[in-house]
């Protein structure tokens, strides 16, 4: 009996142990919220609202996890999200652009940031913290250069897309008037979940995914194993920034406005979610599913605090 128990723990490596802890903590917290606070938490829609509000954070935190797994860090993601939402808002509203164009802008900004930061980190060997710090400054500054005042987007096509809801079967609830209200998620959530699944598969079963872990764990031995360390680091930063661009668009889709103060401190939330999800800042350890649960845990805490009436200040 004792032997068997030991073997289970032996089988679990660092990553899956941390993942299990995260999921257990999240479930305990959510159940605790249901038991103690009841109210909104008993309805499934509460859970989907958490997803709706945090789809962008899930996407950026996934990118952050990949950078952190490969031993780097990227604190520019919040700035990139703000820049994307402001640029897309200006493009759609003042310039009369199309949805496709705005998506391309979002991707373009992400790719541009990824290329420059990846080059500086991987090829020139500059500390990722400093590079992305400058990236954050640059993105925040550019956001105010694009437009200073915050404003809402009036574009009809965009607003139609923004209000598109995907109903979740069997999860609806009956409201006070006795009408059945279906539970829904926004498009951003579907994008986020697709990205989570995709990155999970990439990290688990592709050569690139495994080399992220190898480079983050030990650069020297990764080099000796024949992994192209520079290319891996470069790709990790590129993926993170592109995901920040996509996350920016999803964020924009959720809030429907452009503002220089959007996504303030989002990089810290992304890092915190990754860490709660079991990704180590030292690199080499981490899991995308854990990051997803990290985001959920973080926002559940925020929801509990908010519904308990504690001040956010």
């Amino acid at each position: 009996m004792n032997k068997e128990k030991k073997s289970i723990f032996n089988k679990m490596n660092d990553t899956s142990l941390l993942l299990t802890i995260t999921i257990v903590i999240f479930l305990l917290m959510y159940i605790g919220a249901i038991v103690i606070q009841g109210g909104g938490f008993t309805k499934p829609q509460m859970f989907f609202n958490i997803l709706n509000a945090n789809a962008a954070l899930i996407i950026t935190a996934c990118g952050m996890s990949i950078v952190m797994i490969s031993g780097g860090i990227d604190i520019s993601v919040g700035g990139v999200v703000a820049l994307v939402s402001m640029s897309c808002a200006v493009y759609l509203d003042h310039k009369g652009g199309s949805i496709i164009g705005s998506i391309l802008i979002a991707l373009g900004i992400g790719i541009a940031f990824g290329l420059v930061q990846g080059f500086l980190v991987a090829v020139l060997d500059i500390q990722p913290f400093i590079v992305s710090l400058a990236g954050m400054f640059f993105a925040r500054g550019m956001t105010t250069i694009v437009n200073t005042a915050p404003f809402n987007v009036e574009d009809e096509e965009f607003n139609a897309l923004k209000l598109t809801r995907v109903n979740v079967p069997f999860m609806g609830s009956v409201n006070k008037k006795g009408i059945y209200v279906p539970a829904y998620v926004e498009i951003g959530v579907i994008v986020a979940l697709l990205i989570v699944v995709l990155l999970f598969l990439v990290l688990r079963w592709t050569r690139l995914g495994r080399s992220f872990y190898a480079v983050g764990g030990n650069k020297q031995s990764a080099l000796m194993m024949g992994i192209n360390v520079r290319r891996t680091k470069f790709l990790s930063h590129l993926i993170c920034s592109v995901l920040a661009g996509i996350g920016g668009y999803v964020y924009f889709l959720h809030v429907g406005s452009g503002s220089a103060s959007h996504a303030m401190g989002m990089e810290m939330n992304a890092i915190a979610s990754s860490i709660i999800g079991g990704t180590m800042l030292t690199g080499g350890v981490g899991n995308i599913i854990g990051t997803l649960f990290g985001v959920l845990s973080l926002s559940t805490i925020q929801n509990i605090v908010a519904s308990a009436g504690l001040d956010q200040a």
């Binding site: 090829v123 500059i126 400058a134 400054f137 640059f138 993105a139 500054g141 105010t144």
Partner: protein
Amino acid sequence: MVKSFFKRLTSNQLFIPLMALILLAVINLINDPGFFRITLGTNNAGNPVLSGYLITILDYGSELGILAIGMTLVTAASGGQDISVGATIAIAGSAMLRVLCGGNSRPDQIQAPIIVAFLVACIVGMLCGAFNGLLVAIFKIQPMIATLILFTAGRSIAAWINNNELPIVPDPKFSYFGSFIPGIPIPTTVFIVAICIVIIALVLKFTNLGLYTQAVGINENSSRLNGINPTFIKFLAFVILGLCVAVAALIKVSRLSTINYSVIAKDIEMDAILAVALGGNALSGGKFNMWASILGAYVIQFLTTTLYKFNVQSDALAAYKAVVVILLVVFSAPTVRDYMARLGKNMAKRKEAA
């Protein structure tokens, strides 16, 4: 002879900040020859004061200069940075105001001597530093993550200390620390920085702090085997940073005689880290050069003032700063330096061959 002199010059750690300073000075000189003019005028109270861009830089760069001292030590000892300094300034400043105003937001006179308030702020700052140091040195949490706690919570704590009110200090003497003492035309902050620099210079000269800090930063295990207590050194570095934060808070709060919790010392942590990086100190810890860091702090303030002079919006300032920082970091990157050195050698060879 010339070559070796040149090599010694470029390999000196002060080279990068000095070059940046000279570059900025030249740009300003071309743009406006009057940039360096210092005039003696009188302020609103009728006291003689020196004014001019250089004085502005010296004055407003002082918080950054003081923070750079502590940040250099923390960087060298722990191999990480403290990102909570801005929030800790808010906490220490708030505590100072609480003592001065005694919980009343509009007192007729100060409720405690300024020195007592400052000492309380010092203790609060050092406690915050000790909290960070405890997490980093004893619980072995990465510095950036450990200080993330105060970074996010600090401004709320600061608001909580004064019940979210914004007390105003009635005594004009309190504002001397951030502006001018009547009769002395030089900003008081310059003297405060000078005192801090003298103290840290004496400490580095007569104690083993510098040596031990570098030893811990370079190799924690071997320094432990040599009889140094790395835990204590790291802890000490954070406490010293806490003290620096308290002094910076005194200046910051004194400038306005009040406080704005969400705005005070905003983004100063980034500037402080940049000052250390600009000084050519490795952000991964180990060897440090205190003077290069302090010089780096003033270079950053120089840059900020220059950008303001070019009519850059304060919100957009960050974008320009980022470009300059990237350029500086790229030119100081070892890879780029090696490449340049090789390029220079090849050119010399070709010349010889020709």
